[in-house]
């Protein structure tokens, strides 16, 4: 306090003060009271803070307890993918997605060696999902099994998650969807979930409805087709494999343990749960 003596009376010289001692003390008391009040008001928030900030601790717990606490993930093999887009269509049919809002996308890219390869991308279900941290209403959140989920009833449609997602994995319902037929049904499957209302954001769910219902029925997601995402089931070259990353016996874990894989934009620290096997000619 004495170092900040506002009246500048050192060496007995009296100088014009910007604030009087009284005003300064008032200011400090006011600031202190504000901090105290803010801390007090934030008290009920603590469990919330812990829930939001405690991701790492939870992650370790899952690793230890393996399949009792599954962490759903996918491996996509870019060296076998032929770019048939079956996964894109099956997803559209199953989840009732329009052409403009595809949850699964396919693009054609090239390795530095000139090798053309087919890239497909669902939502990567990141462990540190930027969309989850920016959502102002917690409408998108990380489930304990690693799935990044949307609550369509909470979403206010601000689209900050679209802005924050590094992978462009989110689509907004710009207009009301009427009764127009699904562009891919019934050839590629039947819609299993309701259409989303106008004004909310949606994204790939790893076919969460199949996983949850499958587990309840005693099935194993990634093994039993009824409990496995539609895009994985339909792939004609088995370029997509789904399963529990926390279970060392699962096929996804075995592939990751034995094969060189990479994740998209590893540098961003988003920790996706989708792993890619590189195409020939792509150094990782």
């Amino acid at each position: 306090m004495s170092m900040n003596n506002p009246s500048g009376t050192q060496n007995g010289t009296q100088t014009e003060a910007i604030l009087t001692r009284r005003e300064f003390v008032m200011l400090m008391v006011g600031a202190g009271a504000s901090v105290a009040l803010a801390t007090m008001l934030a008290e009920p928030l603590n469990p919330l803070f812990q829930r939001v900030l405690g991701g790492d601790i939870e992650h370790e717990k899952y690793t230890a307890a393996a399949s009792d606490n599954p962490r759903w993930g996918m491996v996509i093999n870019l060296s076998t993918c032929i770019g048939c887009e079956y996964c894109v269509y099956a997803c559209q049919a199953t989840n009732d997605v329009t052409d403009a809002m595809r949850w699964n996308v396919h693009i054609v890219d090239e390795t530095p060696t000139g090798n053309i390869f087919h890239m497909t991308r669902p939502c990567l279900h990141c462990n540190n999902a930027p969309c989850v941290s920016v959502c102002p209403v917690s409408a998108t959140y990380s489930r304990s099994d690693g799935l990044v989920v949307m609550d369509y009833d909470k979403c206010i449609g601000c689209r900050y998650c679209e802005v924050a997602c590094p992978y462009g994995a989110r689509s907004f319902n710009w207009e009301e969807r009427g009764d127009e037929p699904n562009p891919r049904a019934p050839e590629w499957g039947t819609p299993e979930v309701p259409r989303r209302p106008r004004g909310v954001v949606e994204k790939c769910t790893f076919c969460i409805h199949r996983i949850d219902a499958g587990l309840a029925a005693g099935l194993t997601p990634g093994v039993d087709p009824e409990a496995t995402p539609a895009c994985v089931n339909i792939c004609p070259v088995r370029a997509r494999v789904f399963g529990d990353l926390n279970n060392p016996e699962s096929e996804v874990s075995q592939i990751i343990a034995s094969t060189a894989t990479f994740r998209l934009r590893e540098d961003l620290g988003t920790e996706p749960n989708v792993y890619y096997i590189p195409p020939e000619g792509l150094a990782i």
């Binding site: 504000s34 693009i107 941290s133 409408a139 206010i156 802005v163 997602c165 989110r170 207009e175």
Partner: protein, 427 residues
């Protein structure tokens, strides 16, 4: 009734034309807003790749331009610069118009306006946007508290003892209100910059200086807008609304704030684009320069017009004493801020994301031009704030020290000389 309106119109034709113009803007806005609410956001030119546009620019600009309220209130009630009380009320009113404009823009912009209250129910303390929403809500409450005594004083409410006592009570706790308001403002004004600054996947945006640039530019542009509307209104109403030395003090403050902003702005550029080479950032700027007028608007609009020239005008005593130079300078700061908010918002979207591991440029560059409906809503919001100001300055006691000038030519001469003798000081 109609006779009286016609009579008023005949006495002040300019004002009538102005009101008609504002009503036109409002009608355009109402029709456009209704279309958005009925048909949804497909009537905009926004896409999943470029989901924010003109309305977010309006939202960011009006909040920044409302920053005069907290700066000048803090000057009066926290730092004890009592002479600024003569302009602080007007600043509070500008702030209130700015924040309500932003809320209007956001209400139309979100996909589910019927759920606007959700941030209050479903908290996400980790979201910078949640923090902004809550802070804007609290700060608007602060503005209403600061504005209530003005309403009481200016209306027949003043005849009621209870209303007068409420006004008096609010006036007495104003130092606390102003302190809280300053705290909340400092936080959320910078958080708006953080909205973009924290996005690691977008090198053009990702920047630790973004929050600080936002607060510094708001501290400069907020008082600048208050200065501008005060001077224009004074000219038109032939009143000296605020003593000259207060105008000059605000101008000097804006000048120094502009310099501080300029300083950080230049260093943010130097550190990333000149003294070092950040690949993602450099290629992003290259894309912007090739496809948009970003380079031109950044250097000429934001830096030169928005900060450097006004700083010179406001800090050089000769130009500061010239009323027209002062108005021009304030207008330049305000325009520079809007250009900046546009550039910041759009630049990050124009440059596409890059997540595919290959070497091809597979993602197209995103270009944007607001649709007619977007312009319409924007016009409506601008019409709302201008109409609000026009009515407020005419019917509310925004300027406690206002003096009517009988003949402008006679009175302005000594006023200029007077201020020359007593150089305005900020402290």
């Amino acid at each position: 009734m109609i006779d009286r309106a016609l009579g008023a119109a005949r006495r002040s034709p300019h004002l009538t034309i102005w009101y008609l113009f504002l009503v036109t803007l409002l009608a355009f806005g109402a029709v456009s807003g209704a279309r958005v609410l009925i048909e949804g956001l497909r009537v905009t030119n926004l896409t999943d790749e470029l989901p924010w546009g003109l309305w977010i620019v309006i939202d960011l600009s009006s909040i920044a331009l409302g920053a005069g309220a907290f700066t000048l209130s803090a000057a009066v009630y926290v730092f004890g610069l009592k002479q600024y009380a003569s302009i602080a009320r007007a600043a509070v009113f500008v702030g209130l118009l700015g924040y309500t404009s932003a809320m209007l823009a956001l209400f139309v912009d979100i996909g589910r306006p019927d759920r606007f209250y959700h941030p209050i129910l479903y908290w996400n303390p980790h979201s910078v946007l949640w923090e902004i929403t809550i802070a804007v809500m609290f700060y608007t409450t602060v503005l209403v508290l600061e504005f209530t005594p003005i309403i009481v004083e200016s209306t027949p409410l003043n005849n009621y003892a209870l209303a007068r006592r409420l006004g008096h009570l609010l006036h007495r706790i104003m130092p606390v209100v102003a302190l809280v308001g300053m705290g909340i403002s400092m936080v959320h004004q910078s958080s708006l910059g953080a909205t973009y600054g924290i996005l690691t996947a977008r090198p053009v945006w990702y920047s630790p200086s973004a929050p600080v640039l936002f607060i510094l530019s708001a501290i400069a542009a907020g008082p600048a807008l208050t200065l501008l509307v005060t001077m224009i209104s004074g000219e038109l109403m032939q009143k000296r609304l605020v003593p000259e030395d207060v105008l000059h003090g605000v101008a000097r403050f804006v000048g120094f704030a502009s310099l501080a902003y300029l300083y950080l702005k230049l260093w943010s550029w130097l550190a990333v684009s000149y003294y070092s080479h950040v690949p993602g950032h450099a290629s992003g700027i290259e894309i912007l320069n090739e496809n948009t007028p970003y380079g031109f608007t950044f250097w000429w609009g934001e830096v030169l017009m928005g900060a450097l020239l006004p700083a010179i005008i406001f800090l050089w005593p000769r130009t500061r004493r010239n009323r027209y130079a002062l108005m021009l300078g304030a207008l330049m700061v305000v325009a520079g801020l809007v250009v900046n908010r546009w550039n910041v918002t759009l630049s990050g979207f124009v440059v596409p994301l890059d997540w595919s591991p290959g070497v091809l440029d597979v993602f197209p560059i995103n270009m944007y031009e607001p649709s007619l409906v977007e312009w319409g809503v924007a016009a409506g919001i601008i019409g709302y704030s201008w109409l609000g100001w026009t009515l407020g300055v005419r019917y509310l006691r925004l300027y406690p020290n206002a003096v009517r000038l009988v003949r402008r030519r006679v009175v302005t001469q000594p006023a200029v000389a007077e201020s020359g003798e007593q150089p305005a000081t900020a402290r």
